[in-house]
Subunit: 243 residues, 2 copies
């Protein structure tokens, strides 16, 4: 954990926080600070800050916190993801939030198996701890918004502009026939919406809908990557191209 | 599997191959081809090609193979990796080979725990099937060379040029203070050696040795990423910058 995240109601008016459980154990056993040291903390969906330790024991940590003024901005990238296998979805949550996303939209596609949507990995009670784990790894505080919009066509035609307004839209597709670099280099000042299809790829009908909705296609300069690896690679390439 | 890989001695002089086990089950149950269809195949560390099916049963597949002339080139990127936790090393092998690496060099660092090197995930009998899995995912045939060079200083000072000759050398380091994009954009025609440190980062002594050995430092435009995610992100950013 590179930043310990707190829920707003865990912080007293004077900035005092008492931690037990995983976060206390992490501070005591991994960070191993002394009383008087500071650790990086933050309010979940709020301001980052520092906490000065006033007591440290294996399962009891007390901090006095100071927070920076203002909240961090919404990250510049949204992700539209065709629902992957539940096992892949499970391991994607933490990396996705660690790389900084404003919104994650999960949808259906022709090559997504129907029973993928039955998984508890689309239940906030299960995925939110993973998102928080990713934020704490990266030192960030803002949870991505998550939208499960199962019906692909209404999503693309009617709902997308409200969910991800005024974004440059790019879909990763292996047969795009032109380099992703050119596609990424265009509008660094605009927010970005990246679309990643299912393992078997988008079908022509879906690609046509995406194109009609303003997506341009890019091909990463790699062979066919596993969905989770493709997501991370695409987010990395997009992030670096905008830096 | 986007390409079924064969060992050279599995192919008869006439190009005939008989498969049982995982590869046969994958062809029969996932690809579901008919007799007469072709599937993408390749010789491990050799030529890619196509196999025409002459028999398909759940655990018995027969193919007649034709191979392309010439072997695929060595990928343009090598990776120098400070040994991560065994659990992370385990899950990195397949993604690393799927992204195309010429050589993977694994070394020690001050912030690597000594017992990490005891893992069986540094044993070729355990990691080679993972590397092959990554190649089959990406549709490639060439295994990365793997070198475990535990002593950091002799590696950097004496052995690196022989292991990764004439490469542009880049180390990912969060405090590099300049954008990774500039660092990547410089020499697209030259092979690249990318270095990724341990979870806690390189210590100043190690960074100084790397700098003396010609590495320039780049910072990815993200928070602190988990080692496996940082590797994939760095390889993706480097690959796209060279495309």
């Amino acid at each position: 954990m590179n930043r310990i995240l707190l829920k707003a109601d865990e912080v007293s008016d004077g900035g005092r926080v008492v931690l037990a459980g995983i976060r206390a154990r992490h501070i005591a056993a991994v960070l191993k600070p002394a009383v008087g040291d500071t650790v990086r903390i933050g309010i979940l969906n709020g301001a980052p800050g520092h906490g000065k330790l006033i007591a440290v024991a294996p399962n009891h940590v007390e901090l006095v916190c100071q927070f920076e003024a203002g909240e961090p901005p919404v990250p510049a990238v949204d992700l539209l993801l065709a629902m992957p296998r539940p096992k892949v979805m499970k391991r994607l949550w933490a990396p996705l939030s660690s790389m900084g996303l404003g919104r994650i939209i999960i949808t259906n596609a022709a090559r997504v198996e129907r029973n993928y949507f039955d998984t508890h990995w689309l239940d906030p009670a299960h995925y939110e701890p993973r998102l928080i784990e990713g934020l704490q790894q990266a030192g960030m505080t803002r949870l991505p918004d998550v939208t499960v919009a199962r019906r692909f066509r209404p999503l693309i035609e009617d709902q997308l502009e409200a969910l991800s307004p005024n974004t440059q839209r790019i879909v990763a597709h292996p047969d795009a026939g032109f380099s992703s670099h050119a596609g990424f280099a265009t509008e660094p000042s605009r927010r970005l919406l990246l679309a990643v299809g299912p393992e078997g790829g988008w079908v022509p009908f879906e690609l046509a809908l995406l194109q009609a909705a303003g997506f341009s296609a890019v091909a990463l300069p790699f062979g066919t990557l596993r969905t989770d690896i493709a997501c991370i690679a695409l987010l990395a390439a997009a992030g670096v191209s905008r830096a």
